[in-house]
């Protein structure tokens, strides 16, 4: 332990308030850890709201010809549920996790632009408030679905203010996402500690880097589309109104030009979480680091060229459909490489099924299921049958819930000790895990069949066809099981915050830099940054006789 360099004082002290100023020290904070925590808390709030909306949807569909809510409220619920979960839960959660962890993982004091970081966070909150403010307007929030197809989202079909607030709220979060993307890129490219070369970056940081590039290049697409939609709605412009020479298809191109890469924005950081958790709990270094990192770049680039597979039913022509079908299937290759690497990491490892690992393992299984249905509907004939049915709903819930959200749970259980200095309860964690797995599959697996039987997506209600009622009821019961699991999760967080076992600095015996500092980290992150001479700095510290890169020089 003799070769630990001392980190000297920061050249420019950051404007941080003292410990004892209560809420103000949070609201005025530019510290990446506090901002990260605030991201996580606000996404939890939105998660609960979005979940309640999902429960309303499922209640309405629990039995045939039910009228639990009115059709208008139902439309508002699925619109707000989708929007909330994508833009105010998964995205800000993953960005927030990045904000908290990236500087720690690369051995930096803070993000490159701490104030910009605070702006990003508060813009998300602002966007969320704008979105939910529409509940207070006369005719309620947007009813046009999360992709707001024109001309339904245009005058005269949506005269209420809902879609306007919707677009404004999402525009605000869009700006926030670009800002945090820029901040992350500059931080990762310029603020790594000595020895932390790009090829030694923790995979989570790699994923955040690629995601950030996607953010800054893809969000402007939807930002411009939102601007056009707002001009249409507020100044009677005619971008997307076919009646006045505009083009409704143009909206679809713009929306999916953003929407498909967005899927990878939602899932790449989740891949990053999994790539951190699996090696630690298998007690092996990740298998094929280069392939995991490289395939991410491939996914990032490919994702921008395949959006038209969301539009097979539009009538782009057989040739276009054929090309996009093939290109979409190609994405399965880099994704498959990742799955193989995770499995190969687990193979022959000493696997320790703590709660984070349980979620990570379940992630692989559920995500592969979602990926397989994805490859299926990338083929045009299958898509023509399945499009806009519950098959699609099942598919993207397997990707976004079974994928992103499972990874998020894994991440929370994994890093909670670092965030708070307390362990989460394993017992409650296991309850949470099993109820989530059961509830999730109960809710969504059956929807594959419902979809193939012809149940359309977003339908307000349905006739009493054979089995439809019972299958939907099963799905609804599953949703309530999920709700209970979320309650347990929240209870676990609350209880662990107060009574959780005190966490050591490195409770999981992990190897990345964030575990080298105290739990929770001090305001200045590190007293000492360990020397980085391999991909697993803490392993190298503990095993000076058996480092990962025996030939690496120590640079000081």
């Amino acid at each position: 332990m003799s070769k630990i360099p001392l980190v000297p004082e920061n050249t420019k002290p950051l404007p941080a308030l003292g410990e004892n100023q209560g809420m103000l020290s949070w609201v005025a904070s530019v510290d990446h850890k506090q901002i990260g925590i605030m991201y996580l808390i606000s996404t939890m709030v939105f998660f609960v709201i979005g979940g309640l909306e999902a429960l309303v949807i499922r209640m309405q569909l629990a039995k045939p010809e039910f009228d639990f809510v009115s059709p208008e409220v139902y439309n508002q619920m699925f619109t707000m549920h989708g929007t909330t979960m994508i833009f105010f839960v998964v995205m800000p959660f993953l960005i927030g996790l990045g904000v908290y962890l990236v500087p720690l993982m690369i051995g930096a004091r803070d993000m490159a632009f701490p104030r910009l970081n605070a702006l990003s966070f508060w813009l998300v909150v602002f966007g969320g408030i704008l979105l939910y403010y529409s509940f207070l307007t006369q005719s309620g929030p947007s009813e046009v679905g999360w992709f707001a197809y024109a001309p339904l989202s245009e005058k005269p079909f949506s005269l209420n203010k809902g879609p306007t607030y919707w677009a404004l709220g999402l525009l605000a979060t869009g700006i926030s996402s670009v800002a945090s993307g820029l901040n992350n890129i500059v931080t990762i490219l310029t603020m790594r500690t000595k020895g932390m070369t790009m090829r030694r970056l923790p995979l989570f940081v790699w994923m955040i880097l690629v995601t950030s590039f996607l953010l800054i290049f893809v969000i402007p697409i939807i930002a411009s589309a939102f601007a056009m939609m707002l001009l249409d709605r507020l100044l009677d412009a005619t971008f997307f109104t076919p009646a006045h020479g505009g083009s409704a298809i143009l909206w679809q191109h713009f929306f999916w030009g953003f929407g498909h890469p967005e899927v990878y924005i939602l899932v790449l950081p989740a891949f990053g979480i999994i790539s951190e958790v699996i090696p630690v709990f298998s007690r092996k270094p990740i298998y094929g680091y280069e392939f995991v990192a490289g395939s991410t770049v491939a996914i990032g680039l490919l994702s921008m060229g395949v959006w038209a597979h969301h539009m097979f039913a539009v009538g782009l022509g057989n040739v276009a459909n054929l090309y996009f079908s093939l290109a979409s299937m190609l994405i399965a290759i880099p994704t498959g490489i990742k799955v193989l690497n995770w499995v190969a990491t687990m193979w022959g490892g000493k696997i320790w099924f703590a709660t984070p690992m349980l979620f990570a393992t379940a992630f692989i299984i559920e995500f592969v299921l979602g990926g397989l249905t994805g490859v299926a509907i990338a083929s045009v004939p299958i898509d023509w049958v399945a499009t806009d049915t519950y098959f699609i709903v099942a598919h993207f819930h397997y990707v976004l819930f079974g994928g992103s959200l499972f990874a998020i749970f894994a991440g929370v259980y994994y890093w909670f000790p670092k965030f708070t200095g307390r362990m989460m309860s394993e017992r409650l964690g296991k309850w949470h895990f099993w109820l989530t797995v059961i509830g999730f599959n109960m809710t969504f697996f059956i929807q594959h069949f419902l979809g193939l039987m012809g149940m359309p997506r977003r339908t307000y209600t349905y006739h009493d066809f054979p089995y439809w009622g019972s299958m939907n009821l099963l799905s609804t019961i599953g949703a309530f099981v999920l709700a209970i699991s979320v309650l347990i999760f929240i209870w676990n967080i609350r209880r662990s915050l107060k009574h959780g076992e005190k966490a050591p600095d490195n409770p999981w015996n992990a190897w990345t830099l964030e575990w080298a500092t105290s739990s929770p980290p001090a305001v200045h992150n590190f007293d000492l940054v360990p020397p980085v001479r391999g991909r697993r700095p803490l392993w190298d510290l503990e095993h000076p006789d058996n480092p990962d890169e025996p030939n690496a020089k120590i640079v000081l």
Binding site: S2, K3, P5, L6, V7, P8, N10, T11, A108, R109, D110, T190, M191, R192, T193, K194, G195, M196, T197, M198, R199, E290, A293, G294, V297, A298, L301, L302, M304, G305, G317, N318, V319, A320, Y323, F324, L326, A327, L330, V529, V555, L556
Partner: protein
């Protein structure tokens, strides 16, 4: 006539193609001493593709009947042939050549990533301006100039990524940005061609049907002008972009397989002290 007869009777042994290929082969042989190596195999396959693109039915059909055939030829000549030729140049030879003035400084200018990028993407865009493309189809000399410019500009485009001399290459991450932005340029053009609606290039609407195969193409093969143009646009868009993507994967792979020097800039910390 059926499709096989068309494909077998439209080989067009243009003397300038064969002569230039022979010239290049002999030149390469002299420069490298006629040894058979991995590099020379790349060069020979590059030349073979070059000849194929210019004498096969792709050439004939692309000049008279089918935009899609032209596009495949275009992708071969702008993206694949030059890449193979560039990769085949041995490092030693390139170093020697670059030390000769003015060639060295010319390559410094042309090989500057910004200039190379604009040349590479510009060649795609400019040669596909509808009026220019129709002009090219009507004029043999212009056509030859176009094909040669594809190969030359293609080599310049690939230079910053795959230059035989390592010091002239961009770093892997910058190459990825270089290639993906070029991919964006080619995507947009492909997109415009795909969605422009039939008849962007007037020459393909009513070709002079000297062979009498138009009914075959339009009828049996369903290659109506609209479909043909869509295939062309999409070929540029999807497979075209995949070439850039594959190339950036190759640069990443090359990066991972080399020993690296530390590339660190810590801006927030002063010199880290060693207290042994």
């Amino acid at each position: 006539m059926n499709i096989w007869q068309v494909l077998s009777s439209t080989w067009n042994m243009e003397p300038w193609v064969l002569i230039s290929a022979l010239f290049l082969l002999i030149g390469y042989g002299i420069a490298t001493g006629f040894k058979f190596t991995k590099l020379s195999a790349l060069f020979v396959s590059g030349i073979a593709l070059y000849v194929f693109a210019l004498v096969s039915p792709l050439d004939y059909l692309g000049r008279t009947y089918l935009f899609s055939a032209h596009m495949i030829q275009h992708i071969l000549l702008l993206l694949i042939v030059p890449l193979l030729l560039l990769l085949a140049i041995p490092e030693k030879l390139a170093k020697k050549a670059l030390s000769v003035e003015p060639f060295g400084s010319i390559m410094k200018v042309l090989g500057h990533p910004l200039i190379a990028w604009f040349l590479g993407v510009g060649a795609m865009w400019v040669w596909h301006l509808p009026s220019l493309h129709d002009m090219v189809l009507a004029n043999d000399n212009l056509y030859i100039a176009q094909q040669i410019s594809f190969v030359l500009i293609g080599m310049i485009f690939w230079w910053p990524v795959f230059a035989p001399v390592e010091s002239r290459r961009l770093s892997p991450l910058t190459s990825t940005l270089y290639l993906s932005s070029a991919c964006l340029g080619c995507t947009i053009l492909g997109m415009l061609i795909t969605f422009a609606g039939a008849g962007l290039y007037a020459a393909y609407m009513t070709p002079v049907d000297t062979m009498g195969i138009l009914p075959l193409l339009r009828g049996e093969l369903c290659l109506t002008p609209g479909v043909d143009q869509q295939i062309g646009g999409l070929t540029m868009w999807v497979p075209g972009c995949l070439i850039y993507l594959t190339a950036s994967m190759v640069t990443l792979a090359r990066w991972y397989s080399t020993e690296e020097n530390y590339e660190i800039s810590t801006t927030h910390y002063k010199e880290i002290k060693n207290f042994e």
